[in-house]
Assembly symmetry: C2
Homo-oligomer: 131 residues x 2
DNA sequence: CTACTTGCAAAGATTTTGCACCTCA
DNA sequence: TGAGGTGCAAAATCTTTGCAAGTAG
């Protein structure tokens, strides 16, 4: 039986993720946790974050060619708006989703995460020169 | 004023995307279109797909470390269920979304795409040995 | 003890980009 | 003709992985 250990590295990564609202990526978390645990490797950060996602403790916002952003999963029903120009991520509250898709899913599909992502361009980027 | 040209390459990429329901990635489209246009480069496929996405003609399903999958945007309101084990993508019909988020978005956010993504494990993968 | 975890570095994979050469309009 | 587009190959990123050494339980 496989056993999950509670290492210092995992505690620290979880702690870092939990105490920020900035939807950080792996590199940011790596830098952050390194202030306390200088030997922490980026590989371990990735492995830990993967585990957190598998366990439903964290969710991801993924964009091709961009670093995956991680978000600690809180009990609120929030989703994300993503600026496709600068990559900024905004939290948006959406209560109505939960019961929508179930009946329409392919038979037997085991749901672990329902994401609503609004993609577009944020105000700041609309006001930039070449938009 | 910038001018968009209607090249053979772009026609072929759009055609390939339009006539499949398999949510292909850039490499698949590249291979496919090459049967007609052997000189087509993968770089051009990426550039063309990017343009289609920017114009709202195609949408993407993006996963970290996996090739981006592209979907021709039809008039129906369909979204996607994504198996996190094998990467299979299933279409799901969802009608109720459109009017949800507007008021909750960050001020002035210009929406180009609202995606509902259901992530989980498909039946086939649940029945695999080491699940 | 010993199975799991880490650090390190290299490998993998995807996507982007610079540049010289084409080509659509 | 000329602003865009293409092909090619290299570069840039991000993420995963193999392995020897460390460590939680």
């Amino acid at each position: 039986m496989t056993m999950v250990r509670n290492t210092r590295q995992r505690q620290a990564v979880l702690q870092a993720l939990r105490t920020t609202r900035t939807h950080p990526d792996a590199a940011w978390i790596h830098q952050e946790v390194r202030r306390e645990l200088p030997s922490l490797s980026l590989g371990t950060v990735y492995r830990t974050l993967d585990a957190l996602v598998r366990d439903g403790v964290a969710v991801t916002i993924e964009r091709a060619g961009q670093a995956t952003r991680y978000d600690f999963r809180r009990d609120d029903h929030h989703h994300h708006a993503v600026c496709r120009t600068c990559g900024a991520i905004f939290d948006i509250e959406v209560q109505e989703l939960p019961n929508l898709p179930r009946t329409l899913l392919p038979g037997g599909f085991q749901v672990s995460d329902v994401r609503l992502e609004v993609h577009g361009v944020c105000v700041a980027c609309q006001n930039k020169p070449n938009h």
